[in-house]
Amino acid sequence: MEFKDYYKILSVAEDADSKAIKTAYRKLARKYHPDVSGHQEAEDKFKEVTEAYEVLKDPEKRAQYDEFRKYGQPSSGREDGRYRSRQFEGDSSGFSGFSDFFSSIFGGAGPSGRPQGQSYGFTSQQAFDQRGQDIETDMPIFLEDTLTDTTKTLSYQLPHREADGHTREINRTLNVKIPAGVANGERIRLKGQGGQGIGSAPNGDLYLRIRLVPHPLFDVEAHNLIITVPLAPWEAALGASIEVPTLTGKIKLTIPANSQTGQRLRIKGKGLVRKQGHGDLYAVLKVVMPDTADDQIKTQWQQLADSAAFDPRKEWRK
């Protein structure tokens, strides 16, 4: 079990007064709040900061902690059950949002006023007849799979209340129907597939957060798709008829003569599925040069340069 230096976590001095501790906590809580922060480890950091504050804001807990910090263990003679949880250490840790270290000093109870559990922020306080916990989980979907209704197999973890009253994580697998036209960030609710209700209360729900998996060829803009189309300089100059991949196959595309890099050509109806109809596919043109040129090619470029009389930087000379 790792020792936690709560003073260091809050970046306060050992003799900091309660006001300084509160200010430090507020600042860090704002910084690492999982709803605010983009940090990957924000949730762990936030829990750590909250745990530190839970101890240091309370004079009694703080004194106990200081003693532990100084002597490596709390003072003896505690027979009142305050440290009872030590005997149940293994059991209590899954229950409290706080660390084993916290539980070993203060018991298994979590902080007041903050729901505990694996799924951050959802209700799971113990009471009779309590609705089960709602679970929110990411559902990665390939772009191709959004075109029609599709069934996906989903595995997720669920807190399960055992007969002995303890809560453990169990794995569950579910076949889920994903409707055509789902968008990134959309949430799908599966009623009753969340945590088990207590007593006669219903189960919680499962929320799937749709995440569109990045595609090697296509970018997504709302319901439109974008594909970057490399063109040879002569194709851009003379125009061409080329084949462009779509999500479901290929399509012929006419490149007009004198096309420019960055120019967008709209291919109607070949985007993602909408609730009604389809989005479009946009081909963005990108003129690319061949890697190498032999002497003959160089001569031909030179002839072109001589006859074209093209100044691409004439704007600079105004």
Binding site: R26, K177, R187, P214, V284
Partner: protein, 98 residues
């Protein structure tokens, strides 16, 4: 698939919040249900998650509702901008690489 909409009572139940709190959240425009009065309000799944976020911010950071309304709209804007930035970077990458 299950219904993706909730009425007022259902939202209170699934968020375990008193009705007064939901009314406050709606009054501050943090979520904007369809329908003009509590009896006809309809909330979608996104509003459920926004409500939960609002409650977490309210409890964890001790922010009052008007502050939460501001924070949530800025967070949404930030998320949109980040998303757009990611899209533009991906597109730019296709343009300058290879």
């Amino acid at each position: 698939m299950e219904s993706q909409y909730f009425n007022f009572q259902e939202l209170c139940t699934i968020t375990a919040l008193p009705s007064q709190t939901i009314i406050e959240i709606v009054d501050h425009g943090i979520i904007e249900p369809e329908g003009s009065d509590p009896e006809s309000w309809l909330f979608n799944t996104r509003m459920v998650s926004v409500t939960r976020k609002a409650i977490r911010l309210h409890n964890d950071l001790e922010i009052e509702w008007s502050g939460i309304a501001l924070a949530i709209s800025l967070l949404e804007e930030l998320e949109e901008v980040r998303h757009e930035n990611q899209q533009l970077k991906a597109q730019l990458n296709r343009f300058i690489v290879g």
